[in-house]
């Protein structure tokens, strides 16, 4: 059924983490942009690699595309749009910020805020002195043991 019907581990072996070097004709700034971009794009064949790392032929094609478009003066956003138009958001290792990913991007921080508020409320609520002082471990142990003896006694 699946094209990659082989066990996934062996599929990984076809996905060596090795890209053939390209002869760099880019300016240093463009080269940096190129590296950043290809390190954020996901390869569709070897799906757990960036196109920078993958040696799959498709990854090589995509690297070539990215390079060509940088040379043609296209912006990062335009290059990403070119790829998502064809392959969807799946190619972006950094998911775009849009309604369907709001939960993903904001969720953790909302959660943190909530957790901090809860913790603060917890400390404040408990600040009212009602409970007895802490019993030390030894004393507690003695209590526990006494309880056991009682249990035993009850059974016998």
């Amino acid at each position: 059924m699946r094209r990659n019907g082989v066990a996934a581990v062996s599929a990984l072996l076809l996905c060596l983490f090795f890209a053939t070097p390209h002869a760099s004709a880019l300016t240093p700034q463009d080269e940096a942009r190129y590296q950043t971009l290809i390190n954020q794009l996901r390869c569709l064949v070897c799906q757990n690699q960036t196109i920078a790392d993958s040696n799959a032929p498709l990854a090589a094609d995509l690297r070539e595309q990215v390079k060509k478009q940088i040379e043609a003066g296209r912006s990062d956003a335009e290059i990403k749009a070119y790829l998502t138009d064809r392959y969807g958001d799946f190619v972006l290792y950094k998911p775009p910020f849009k309604p369907t990913t709001w939960l993903l991007w904001i969720g953790p921080f909302v959660l943190l805020l909530l957790a901090v508020l809860l913790a603060l409320r917890f400390t404040r609520r408990r600040a009212s002195p009602v409970a007895p002082p802490v019993v030390d471990a030894q004393a507690l142990q003695a209590l526990l043991d006494a309880e056991h003896r009682e249990d035993e006694g009850a059974r016998r």
């Binding site: 094209r3 990659n4 094609d61 064809r86 969807g88």
Partner: protein
């Protein structure tokens, strides 16, 4: 007050449902963003007809299957008999020979038989890139307006055809 102690159970239920749904999906399949959109531009040499090009406009007017395949692709051999059946029923299949050489594909077609009305060559995979192809075989279903209505990733088979594709070919075979 005691309600908050139920939060973990609730979260667990949600998680279980989510994981249960997840079990039924194939995580490796990347759905195409091109579905519902007009087929991307295409202009490729027709195999065996020197100087003749096939363009996107040529795909309009009737439903067709556009099948990306290659002589190096193992799963293409698996789906091949079914494509032969479809062709025999009169379904028009356009073959795009993906990242391959004319010699190899001629030999492959001679050996297995040719289900394609037309075969066009995409030796560099540049058309494949525009169509969002990431392997072979992949099959696009185009309606009469030239809109992509479905994409099958991986080998085509009877079930996919009956469930997802046959409807677009109307009452014809």
């Amino acid at each position: 007050m005691r309600l908050r102690y139920l939060v973990p159970v609730a979260l667990l239920l949600g998680l279980l449902v989510l994981l249960g749904i997840g079990l039924r999906h194939d995580p490796r399949e990347v759905p195409s963003p091109l579905i519902g959109k007009p087929a991307p531009a295409l202009s490729l040499a027709v195999l065996g007809r020197e100087g003749s090009l096939l363009k996107t406009e040529d795909l309009k007017g009737r439903p067709v299957l556009v099948n990306y395949f290659a002589s190096w692709c193992a799963a293409c051999v698996d789906e091949h008999p079914f494509l032969m059946q479809l062709a025999a029923k009169g379904v028009e299949i356009i073959g795009v020979d993906y990242k391959d050489t004319p010699e190899d594909v001629q030999a492959w077609l001679a050996r297995h038989g040719n289900p394609y009305r037309t075969v066009i060559s995409d030796p560099q995979g540049s058309a494949g890139l525009d169509w969002g192809v990431y392997g072979a075989p992949e099959t696009f279903v185009l309606d009469a307006q030239g809109t992509i209505v479905y994409k099958q990733i991986g080998a085509m088979n009877e079930r996919v055809w009956e469930d997802r594709i046959a409807q677009h070919f109307g009452s014809r075979p």
